[in-house]
């Protein structure tokens, strides 16, 4: 028999809010119109707390907690917009920008990029650490799609959507730390992947220009991310 769902009451930015016990701070904040920035999170996919943009302060907890994977608790006092958080979030973005070659002006998703618009939203004006300018390959072996590792921020949305929604698990991550890279199958060229169904979900969910479709004019590659929660819902319903 199902347990009755418990409701927790808490404060976010001094506002009294409530949420189910299985909900995260991020979900409850969004239900109440409170903005918490995210990059790796996408509704319809499992949250993994990778990008650290959604870090929030919780009274009585000394470290910062990622809102996307922290469940609400009774009496919690959450702060989402402190000066410290804003500074850290900008720093996270600066580090992401410096890590690979994010050249907006010539990027295929210039104007339609979540990383770019997040930098604008959070008021990131410059990158204060030196750029690394790594030499990274572009894999255009797939008939329809291209992966450009120069623009990848390792959010792993592609990995999760391929595994959780499409069920193919073509994508994965190899390497550690700064050398991490998303791969198809066992680090084979995408065009030679035997598991890829060419469904294009990974391209749709990619927040940057790392994954894009061939043959469309540059800067007109709009991504359709909203269809994902519907797909997830329908899949759940069939079970």
């Amino acid at each position: 028999m199902n347990q009755p769902v418990r409701v927790k009451t808490l404060k976010i930015d001094d506002r009294d809010v409530s949420g189910r016990e299985d909900e995260t701070i991020l979900e409850v904040a969004r239900q109440n119109g409170i903005f918490i920035p995210t990059l790796c999170h996408l509704e319809g996919l499992t949250s993994i707390g990778a990008c650290r943009l959604c870090l929030v302060e919780v009274k009585g907890v000394s470290r910062l907690l990622p809102a996307c994977v922290t469940r609400v608790e009774e009496g919690m006092e959450v702060y989402t917009q402190s000066e410290r958080l804003q500074k850290y979030r900008r720093m996270v973005l600066e580090l992401i920008f410096s890590e690979r070659n994010h050249i907006c002006s010539v990027c295929v998703v210039n104007g339609n990029c979540e990383l770019q618009s997040m930098a604008q939203t959070l008021g990131m004006t410059h990158v204060s650490v030196p750029y690394r300018f790594p030499r990274l390959p572009v894999d255009a072996s797939h008939e329809r799609f291209v992966v450009d590792h120069n623009r990848c921020i390792l959010c792993t949305r592609c990995v999760r959507v391929c595994d959780e929604i499409e069920g193919a698990h073509t994508w994965d991550v190899m390497g550690r730390g700064i050398d991490s890279r998303v791969i198809t199958d066992l680090n084979q060229p995408w065009g030679e992947s035997e598991t890829c169904t060419s469904c294009g979900k990974c391209v749709s969910v990619c927040p940057t220009g790392a994954l894009f479709e061939k043959g469309k004019p540059v800067t007109e590659r709009l991504k359709r991310r909203q269809s994902l929660s519907y797909l997830a819902m329908m899949r759940e319903g069939r079970r």
């Binding site: 295929v108 540059v218 007109e220």
Partner: protein, 473 residues
Amino acid sequence: MAQQITIDPITRIEGHAKITIHLDEQGIVRDARLHITQFRGFEKLCEGRRFSEMPALTARICGICPVSHLIASAKACDALLAVRIPETAEKLRRIFNLAQMVQSHALSFFHLSSPDFLLGMDADPAIRNIVGVIQANPQLARDGIRLRQFGQQIIEWLAGKRIHPSWVVPGGVAQPLTAEKREQMLAGIPEAIDITQRALKWFKGILRQFSEEIQTFANFPSLFLGLVTETGALEHYDGVLRVVDSAGNVIADKIDPNDYEQYIGEAVEPWTYLKFPYYKPIGYPEGIYRVGPLARLNLIDRCGTPLADEAWAEFRTLERGAVLSSFHYHYARLVEILYGLERIQQLLNEPDILDTRVQAVAGPNRTEGIGVAEAPRGTLIHHYRIDRDGLITWANLIIATGHNNLAMNRGILQAAKHFVKGDRIEEGMLNRVEAVVRCFDPCLSCSTHAVGQMPLQIQLLSPTGEVLDEVRR
């Protein structure tokens, strides 16, 4: 004691350069050089990128003529796709390219060079600029601004924005033209033609005052190179390459642009980042040739539009054979603006111009592609090689200003010999040497595809290399 004069930075040009003038013991000009001081390396940084990004990538070479790069690059990509693009797309690209020429020529003539014409080469530099023009001849200044705006407006109407639009794509263009935009463009053309004719009349009237400059501003025999149509009319988008000599005789004709490497070589000198293209059958450095508006008007048998044909016929009477004085680049620019406006009007009136099939879709079908078009400053060549997946393995760009490098250097020497005397730099002399460069309307950021910092400096150097006098702007 021998000396050297350096002009650094050169003003009212697009990009960064300096001039050095070398004097001998008697204070007589021995040599003069144009140094392009910026380096960018676009050909290298394109490697590994997908070919379809090339139009947008190479357009970033220049904020003034991104359209020219878009066109040449997209044509090279069409060759990689091995497709024939829809006719409407070709016409729209032509309008786009001509609009770019109108705005760029207007910028060169009115904003950058008209201060010299209106206020004189010896005028105080504090007023010898577009603001001075506004005060002295508000109508001329207004005309120039209006004409440039119209060219830019057409670009925006077609592509959505004026600078770095991404509308030109491999295989065609991204969006068709709407009837509303077409009417807007057509409505603006009569005024733009009036402005151009007014400027042409004014310029012809003042030519007499500049006879000394006409004689000495890069006025020497050279070859001329550029695109013409199969039938020898003015051409900016496609066509075949033609070369004429200083007497106006055609020495090579109907060259397939894909064979450019057989005719054009590139030499390198240690004192500048800009390469020296030369005409291969003659060799370096004798194979000096000029490109751009002057060259195009020297190459053709006719323009192909009524008003421009009249203006062109009059232009060709300036000299017997080819028009050799680079001062007449300015004149040629006005004739080309007139042609551009008339041609845009013709194209807009074509019955299929609103057709919505404007892009041919294909993957890479060839591993090598060459795209050649006429930019405002001359012949622009994009040449790419790709791998099996369509990633660039090699790129070569020959930019209009580069072709004119030999001619600009020789032109500076000629003007310096005539105007520079003694070991002191006088304002009028300095400005005239700069004005030679300005005739060519060089776009140095383009031609070196390089990075750098702006304006011009003239240095006067002794034979031992000691700086005797220096003017910096």
